[in-house]
C-alpha cells in the first residue's frame, strides 16, 4: 500500500492531507464502536463510494484487502466459533473499513503532503526535544526504500539460487545486512550533498 499514490483529478485527492488523516483517525475509531451490521454495511458502502469519488477503480479497493484476506478469514472463523457469526462479520467489517480508508488516504495523498502534515503536527512537541523534521524524513525514507529493499532481497535470492542455495536464511541475511548498511552510509552522504539540515 505504501507509496502507491495514484494521481487523479478528484475531490478526494484535492482535500488537504491533514483533513484526510483526521477523518481517517475519527472514522477508524468510530468503526470500532459500531455494533450494528446494517451500519457497518453502510460504512463499507460509503468506503466504496469514496473510491468511486476518488476516480479509483474498484479493483484497487479490492487490492487493498486481498493481502489481508487470510487474516480476516481467521478472525471470522475464531469469532464465529467462539462467539457468533454476527460477531465475526462485525470484526471483519471493522477491519475492512479501516484498511479501505487507510488505503484511500495513501492512494490519494502525496507522501510529501502527508509528511509535511506530520511535521507540522509534531512541531508542538519541539519543546520536548522532538525533531519533527527528522521524524518526517525518516518516514519519507521508509516509504521510498521499501521497494528498493524488496528488489535487493530478490537480487540476493537470485544470486544464491544461481549458486545452488535454495533456502538459507543466513545466506540471505548476511549480504542483505551488509548491503543495507552500505546503503545507509551512501544515503547519509546523499542527504548531506543535497543540503539536508537536521537542525
Amino acid at each position: 500500500m505504501l507509496g502507491l499514490y495514484l494521481h487523479r483529478e478528484s475531490p478526494v485527492h484535492a482535500l488537504p492531507a491533514g483533513w484526510k488523516l483526521l477523518a481517517l483517525a475519527v472514522s477508524a475509531t468510530a468503526a470500532f464502536f459500531v455494533s450494528d451490521l446494517a451500519v457497518l454495511g453502510a460504512a463499507l458502502a460509503a468506503c466504496v463510494l469514496l473510491f468511486v469519488a476518488a476516480r479509483l477503480p474498484l479493483r484497487v479497493a479490492i487490492d487493498q484487502l486481498r493481502p489481508l484476506l487470510p487474516v480476516l478469514l481467521l478472525f471470522f472463523a475464531v469469532q464465529a466459533a467462539f462467539v457468533s457469526w454476527q460477531a465475526g462479520c462485525l470484526m471483519v467489517g471493522r477491519f475492512a473499513v479501516l484498511v479501505l480508508l487507510a488505503g484511500l488516504v495513501t492512494l490519494t495523498t502525496r507522501a510529501s503532503d502527508m509528511i509535511d502534515t506530520l511535521e507540522r503536527a509534531l512541531g508542538v512537541f519541539r519543546p520536548l526535544g522532538v525533531n519533527a523534521g527528522k521524524v518526517s524524513l525518516m518516514l519519507a525514507l521508509t516509504i521510498r526504500l521499501i521497494p528498493v529493499l524488496v528488489d535487493l532481497v530478490q537480487e540476493i535470492r537470485m544470486a544464491q539460487r544461481a549458486r545452488g542455495v535454495e533456502r538459507s536464511p543466513m545466506a540471505l541475511l548476511v549480504p542483505l545486512m551488509v548491503k543495507t548498511l552500505r546503503m545507509a552510509d551512501n544515503l547519509s552522504d546523499a542527504l548531506e550533498a543535497r543540503g539536508y539540515d537536521p537542525h
Binding site: Y5, R144, P147, L187, A190, A193, R194, D197
Partner: protein
C-alpha cells in the same frame, strides 16, 4: 574555481590521496583512474562530503573545512547509483526535496520543479513512484534533483557505470549540454573524452594532467 592545495587523505592507516595540487577552471574536467586510485575520495572532497586529512580544498575561495554548507550550495553531487540518492517516493517530491531544505516559498519551489522536470524530460513522469522509473530515468531524476538547486559546479561520480549503452549515451548528452561546470569521475572513456581536461590518478597521485587524447593514452598505457 576549485583549488586543491597539497591534499592528503587517509582512511585509518591507508593513505588514498598523497599530495594533490590542482586548480580546476575548465568547464569540463574528467578524472580517471583504476579502482582504489582515490578518484571517488577526490570527488567527495570537492563538495565537502569529506574534508582532507591534510591540505585545503577551496571552492571559489571557501575552505570546505570551514564552511561545508556554503560549499555544498555551490557544488552539486551526482552519485553512481541513483537509488542511493533519491530520497522521496515520487519524482516531483524528490526534485522538491533540496528546495524545501533551502526553505524557499512554495510557488518558487513549484516553478523550479516544473522547469527541472521539463529540462530532463520527466514532466510526464512527475507523479510516478521513483522505483518504477528505468535506470536511465532514475539517473536523470538524480541529475534534475541536483541541478534544480542551481549549483555552479556539478561533480558526477561514475554516472554511467550502472547504465546500458543507450542510457549511457543519453546521460553523456545531458552532461555535454549542461551550462554548469562539470567534474566527471568515470571509467567510461567515451564520456571522459568529451572533457577539456583529463586528470589521471594512480595510487593517490596525479600521474597525468592533460588534454583528453594524451591523458587517456597515458592512462591506457598504465593499465596495460
Amino acid at each position: 574555481m576549485i583549488e586543491l592545495r597539497n591534499v592528503r587523505h587517509r582512511y585509518g592507516e591507508r593513505e588514498v590521496l598523497r599530495g594533490i595540487d590542482l586548480t580546476l577552471t575548465e568547464r569540463r574536467v574528467a578524472v580517471v583512474g583504476s579502482n582504489g586510485s582515490g578518484k571517488s575520495t577526490l570527488a567527495r572532497l570537492l563538495n565537502g562530503l569529506l574534508v582532507p586529512t591534510e591540505g585545503q580544498v577551496l571552492v571559489d575561495g571557501i575552505d570546505t573545512r570551514k564552511d561545508a554548507r556554503a560549499v555544498r550550495r555551490r557544488v552539486g553531487f551526482v552519485f553512481q547509483d541513483p537509488d542511493m540518492q533519491i530520497v522521496y517516493p515520487t519524482v516531483e517530491e524528490d526534485v522538491a526535496f533540496g528546495l524545501k531544505n533551502l526553505r524557499l516559498p512554495r510557488d518558487e519551489i513549484a516553478r523550479r520543479v516544473d522547469a527541472a522536470l521539463a529540462r530532463f524530460d520527466l514532466t510526464e513522469h512527475r507523479t510516478w513512484p521513483a522505483h518504477l522509473l528505468s535506470g536511465g530515468q532514475k539517473q536523470l531524476l538524480a541529475i534534475a534533483s541536483v541541478l534544480v538547486l542551481d549549483p555552479a559546479y556539478v561533480v558526477f561520480d561514475e554516472p554511467t557505470t550502472l547504465l546500458d549503452l543507450r542510457n549511457c549515451r543519453r546521460i553523456a548528452q545531458v552532461i555535454r549540454d549542461l551550462p554548469e561546470t562539470a567534474i566527471l569521475v568515470s571509467h567510461d572513456l567515451d564520456l571522459v573524452a568529451q572533457a577539456e581536461r583529463v586528470i589521471v590518478l594512480d595510487e593517490g597521485r596525479v600521474v597525468a594532467d592533460d588534454a583528453p587524447a594524451p591523458a587517456l593514452a597515458a592512462y591506457v598505457a598504465r593499465m596495460s
